[in-house]
Each structure stands twice: as C-alpha cells, then as structure tokens.
Symmetry: C2
Subunit: 124 residues, 2 copies
DNA sequence: CTGTATCCTACAAGATACTG
DNA sequence: CAGTATCTTGTAGGATACAG
C-alpha cells in the first residue's frame, strides 16, 4: 500500500500507471449500477441481453446502462457480443478477469455482513 | 450476492438494511480521499494528527478532509481522539473493524496488480 | 491547531426523444 | 432490439475566509 496519492480519483479514465491498485479497482467499479450489473451477470452465469439488464434494473435509463456497460467492457470486466441474425441481439457476460473479482468481492461481502449490523445496533 | 437493487447507491447515508453488503462497503469507502486516508493510517500504524493528514494529502482542503474523516468515523472505520492539553491536538487511527478491511483490500490490490497491467498492454 | 461557514464548479446520473 | 443525442439536475468536491 505504498503508492502515491492520485490526483484524479473517481475519474472514469483509462488506467494510469503508478497509481494505487486499490484506487484503480475502486474506480473501475464505481458507478451507480456497476455492482448490480456485475451481480446480475455473475448470478446468471450465462450471457445476458441488453434488454434483460434493462428489465432487471428497474430504474436505470438506457443512456446510463450503455455508459456503464462500455466502461466495464473497456476495463476488461465484461464482454460484449453482438449477433446480427434474424432478430439482432447483444449479449453481455463477465470475462474471466471479471469473474475473478469475486475473490475480493466475497471478502468484502463477508466484512460487510460482519460489520454493518454491529454498526447499526451500536448507534441506537 | 442475491440482494435487491438499491435505489440510492453512492449516497453517503447511514447504512440501510437489506442492501447488498458489497454496495454498502463500496459506499463506505467511496470518496476521493478515503483510500488515501486509510492507507496513511494503515501504514503509519499509530495515531495520526489532523495536521499530519493535511500535510500528507497535498491537494485536499480542510473542509473535505473533515468531511471524509467524519464519514469514516461514523461508519466505524476510524476513531477520533481529541486532547485539549497545553496544545490542543486531535488524533485519528483505524479501529479494529477498519483495520480488518485489509483482508479484502489486499485481495483487491492483488487483483489490480495482476489485471491492470494486462489491460494496458492489451489496448495498445 | 482543528476545524466551520459560504460559495462555486464539474461531472455523474437521469429524463426524454430519436435512430439504424 | 439496442442503442445515440440533448438537455437538465443533484451532489461530491474544492477555494477561501473566518472561528474556538
């Protein structure tokens, strides 16, 4: 954890070198809908269509969905496959790199389950 | 990972139940300076003064520093101790709960080291 | 030294309409 | 079906001045 302090956290730009990997990974996943999208793809465990995502995420707009998908794709977390067949469709799925994020996401979830509740009760 | 989709991601509010822990933990740590602050406290391994943080984080303003510290404190990640002695000072340190975040932060860092570079080379 | 109080700005996110 | 193109808005983050 001995990295320089980056000047542009949260900026959704392609990754720079010499940044703290934790900050970089955080940035990759920060976006109102990225974790929900990840969860949906992960749980489904098979490619999901654009319209499927739209249906599953009740209050997202198309513009935002496309934006977040493009960023996830750019960062190598998801994969986009377009089929122009009879009825055109686009399918999204996690890349192997994306799937491997589950290692720390699981740990995060565990930490959360253990500490979020104790906060709640502590504070009232 | 079978949680409902929260409506208020990124909102820096006290934690609600029934949310995805991953999203909650993400929210706890999202803030331009939270990871840098965490890193500084973690690496120092002993209480750090407000002015020390201010000096270490070159381009942060006092308002923002105080804000982020208050949120980290509210979420049980750091601890604030104020001494009114001859020369008043305030010291911040990680709580044990905060320190235990290192478990997933290390995994995140590992993932980052492995995948960020391969992205870079891939894309040029 | 350790903060508040104001004011300001940039940008992520959303609403809505249009398109290949 | 799977997107763009515009326009609007809320809010995180910052600059600066003042205060206990």
């Amino acid at each position: 954890m001995g990295y320089n302090v980056g000047e542009k956290w949260g900026e959704r730009m392609p990754v720079q070198l010499n940044e703290c990997p934790v900050e970089v990974v955080f940035t990759m996943l920060s976006g109102r809908w990225k974790i929900p999208i990840y969860r949906y793809l992960y749980n489904n465990n098979k490619p999901v269509r654009y319209s499927g995502l739209l249906r599953h995420l009740p209050s997202i707009s198309k513009k935002i969905l496309t934006e977040q998908l493009r960023e996830l794709e750019r960062d190598g977390i998801i994969e986009r496959k377009s089929y122009l067949e009879p009825r055109p469709r686009v399918e999204y799925s996690l890349t192997s790199s994306g799937s491997s994020m589950i290692v720390f996401l699981d740990k995060m979830s565990e930490w959360g389950e253990k500490h979020i509740l104790s906060n709640e009760t502590e504070h009232r």
